[in-house]
């Protein structure tokens, strides 16, 4: 060890370590580099003192500044809430039309509406609001209870057959179960369904008499759906002449509808969500593209 050994080829001193005749050249680092290394050690100790560092049995060393990333996160969360409250207040006081025509409010309402839609509406209507059998597609332009901003807002607030006093169809009559209640016979139902299919250009059964179906329709259905079958918004009776079918357009699905009726339910949101959120949802749904 004590012997100095100079490598012949490079003329560099070796460290003295030898393994099977191999030696390691000694190319020393500058001493200040070593001092920087010591400084980093001191720094790390200061860091332990200043910040949370060591896990203990039931807690951890808190550090001088008692820093907590969680607390910082919560603070940022509260700050975000406070920032939202400002625009939220403006939404509270603005009418739906004002929101729609003010870009700053619109942007905020759209953002908030999208988030709340995902939390509250998507389970039934789908994240893209495309709905499914029994749950209407909110993107299209077919609205059983009206598609203006105010109509959508009212539906959102009180729901449909929700039990709320101001709900759409608060008497919960829904569509009459013509078959189950014994109003129409099975063959009459087939006949009226065949007629209804003809209204929107769906395939009809040529073996059935359309005129007889029309008579049945005028006698039984026109009170709600209108003599021309275009429906009535006030009653939530859908337009039967268009291409949108909430419960499906197959003959079987339509026979099922006439036989047992339909009583689709949407909950009231006014008690569950604050007014600003409901307004935002109305604006968001309206702007999905189908709003009137």
């Amino acid at each position: 060890m004590a012997e100095r050994h100079i490598d012949e080829l490079s003329g560099t001193e070796t460290t003295g370590h030898e393994w099977d005749g191999l030696r390691e050249l000694n190319t020393p680092l500058p001493r200040w580099w070593l001092w920087i290394f010591y400084v980093t050690i001191v720094w790390s100790i200061l860091y332990w003192i200043a910040y949370p560092a060591w896990p203990m049995v039931s807690s951890y060393t808190k550090g001088m500044f008692a820093y907590s990333a969680r607390e910082e996160g919560l603070k940022a969360f509260e700050a975000g809430k406070a920032a939202r409250a400002e625009v939220g207040g403006a939404l509270q006081n603005a009418s739906l039309d004002q929101i729609q025509s003010t870009p700053a409010l619109l942007e905020f309402a759209q953002g908030q509406g999208k988030a709340s839609f995902g939390d509250n509406c998507a389970p039934c209507h789908g994240l893209g609001a495309t709905g499914g059998p029994g749950y209407p597609n909110l993107n299209d332009d077919d609205w059983m209870w009206g598609g203006t901003l105010d109509d959508i807002y009212t539906t959102l607030q009180y729901g449909i057959r929700s039990g709320h006093d101001d709900a759409r169809d608060s008497g919960i009559t829904g569509m009459t179960a013509f078959g189950a209640d014994g109003i129409l016979e099975t063959d009459q139902i087939a006949s009226v369904v065949n007629y209804v299919r003809s209204l929107s250009g769906l395939e009809t059964d040529s073996g059935l008499d359309l005129a007889a179906g029309q008579t049945l329709f005028i006698d039984n259905c026109s009170a709600c759906h209108g003599e021309d079958g275009k429906g009535m918004l006030e009653l939530g009776a859908p337009n039967l002449t268009d291409g949108i079918w909430l419960y499906g357009s197959s003959p079987a699905a339509m026979i099922e509808t006439v036989t047992n009726g339909r009583k689709g339910v949407m909950p009231a949101w006014s008690g569950r969500l604050d007014d600003v959120t409901v307004k935002s949802l109305a604006v968001y749904v309206h702007n999905l593209g189908g709003g009137k």
């Binding site: 004590a2 001193e13 020393p28 495309t130 597609n137 993107n139 268009d242 291409g243 949108i244 999905l288």
Partner: protein
């Protein structure tokens, strides 16, 4: 006088004890005048002049844009460089610039070694400036060595204090100039002076003052030898044809005192021109002995050439014992052959070709880049909406860019299927049924766009369509291809 260059790294303690740590030896470079010194002074004035004063250069961009020629505007995410304005999504121009910078560095290296290290690197330039201050305050190399030996006297303390004060002043100004690139310089200078500037400005001035003071005042050649990766990288990029500052061994060896050389010459024995005066080492800012050949610690600043030439003139020998040369030529002269230089080599050609290609591409893309633009994103959920009357609707999110310094109006239209109707939510104005979107100056606007197919038209699942955005101000057109989805 010779100085231990310290590169053997034997460290402290007895000579028998080996150390794994090298002591950094103080270096007292002697000031010198000559061609290369003048080149270095000139380059120092140019580089530092650009660095310190560029933020104050004004460039008129119209009423609504900053008038600072070079400005990195983080809050509004713009980079201004004279007539160029870069948006964040155009940061690939920076990539091109970096490629050009790297290739230029490689090319310099292939042509004449470490030009960057010796003349242009900030470590070199600032260290050079700090040495100049040291020489001015504490006296020449001889004085400084003498004062070192004498120990601490009042005069030495005073000189050291003055030197460090000037160093800190330069370092502070260096940090100060840095932050001026990120905000309007005259305003920031005023704010800094009145303590109104943001904390981050003072923080960065502090950081850069510290690093400049440490690196140029104390780090010096240690930065080049131990911290910088470039000496290692350049060594693997260079080749035997690259010019380097070399001690011409064919002419210099065997070296010895002038007297001894004269005796040898008188006897008809070989005698070199090198009189072993050590001037080349004395002037070297990294304490390197160039006579050991091209080496890592040599930054190739050319000062040893000036020193050696001065000596050669004094003893009546031709200059150029140390000069830009190649090992190939040194060996050829030994064999009595003439010098050859090869500037045109595959590597120099390739570097030049890459530089030309990248800068050509950048100039082309830059000159043809548009002042407006559009991004289109098709709704993913739902892909399409069937409407009650039998038509189909597709939703898109369209973001429009207006890089002009004035607000602009843009007509958005769609084509690809006859009878397509387009509607932009929240946009009132239309022209021939197409929405006219106003976008504020120097910003973007996102609108939701609905496209309707005519009712009764049978469409495939996916039909190509094209969005067209026409600027009403100058007719500039942007088109984006997308698809119209149907059941």
């Amino acid at each position: 006088m010779r100085v231990d260059t310290g590169d053997s790294g034997s460290g402290g303690g007895s000579s028998q004890e080996k150390s794994l740590w090298a002591k950094a030896n103080n270096i007292y470079p002697q000031s010198i005048s000559g061609t290369f010194r003048n080149i270095k002074w000139a380059l120092m004035v140019v580089t530092l002049g650009v660095y310190y004063f560029l933020p104050f250069v004004r460039w008129d961009r119209g009423p609504n844009a900053p008038d600072q020629a070079v400005l990195i505007d983080f809050p509004s995410r713009r980079f201004y460089f004279f007539f160029i304005e870069i948006w964040p999504q155009e940061v690939y121009y920076l990539t091109g610039l970096l490629i050009i910078a790297a290739m230029t560095l490689f090319l310099m290296n292939a042509v004449a070694g470490r030009i960057w290290c010796g003349y242009l690197c900030w470590q070199t330039v600032w260290t050079d400036l700090f040495y100049a201050v040291e020489n001015w305050v504490e006296g020449s190399r001889r004085d400084r060595l003498m004062k070192e030996k004498q120990g601490w006297t009042f005069r030495r303390v005073r000189e050291k204090a003055v030197k460090h004060f000037i160093w800190l002043l330069i370092a502070w100004w260096t940090g100060g100039a840095w932050v001026l690139y990120f905000s309007d310089a005259p305003t920031l200078v005023k704010d800094l002076a009145t303590f109104q500037a943001p904390f981050v400005a003072y923080l960065w001035i502090g950081i850069l003052t510290f690093t400049t003071y440490i690196f140029a005042g104390f780090g010096r050649e240690q930065v080049c030898i131990y911290m910088c990766p470039w000496p290692r990288i350049q060594a693997s990029l260079t080749d035997e044809w690259a010019l380097n500052i070399e001690y011409r061994t064919d002419r210099g060896e065997p070296r010895g005192s002038l007297k001894k050389m004269k005796e040898l010459a008188a006897k008809g024995e070989p005698s070199g021109d090198c009189i072993d005066c050590g001037q080349c080492i004395a002037v070297c800012p990294t304490g390197t002995d160039i006579r050991n050949g091209v080496q890592l610690s040599c930054i190739q600043c050319g000062l040893c050439i000036d020193a050696c030439d001065a000596v050669m003139k004094k003893i009546g020998k031709p200059t150029g014992l140390i000069a830009y040369d190649t090992d190939i030529n040194i060996n050829r002269r030994r064999q009595g052959l003439h010098d050859i230089y090869k500037l045109v080599r595959p590597r120099t050609l390739i570097y030049v070709a890459i530089i030309l290609a990248v800068s050509g591409f950048m100039v082309f893309t830059f000159s043809t880049r548009s002042m407006s633009g559009m991004n289109v994103l098709h709704d993913r959920n739902p892909l399409y909406v069937q409407l009650s009357e039998g038509g189909v609707r597709n939703g898109f999110t369209v973001r429009m860019l207006n890089k002009h310094t004035e607000p602009g109006e843009f007509v958005l239209s769609v084509e690809g299927i006859d009878g397509l109707k387009i509607e932009a939510i929240g946009v009132e104005g239309t022209e021939n049924g197409n929405p006219v979107v106003s976008v504020d100056r120097d910003t973007t606007r996102e609108v939701r766009v609905l496209v309707f197919s005519p009712k009764g038209l049978q469409l495939g699942q996916s039909t190509p369509i094209t969005f067209r955005l026409v600027s009403k101000a100058d007719g500039e057109t942007t088109t984006v291809n997308d698809y119209f989805k149907a059941p």
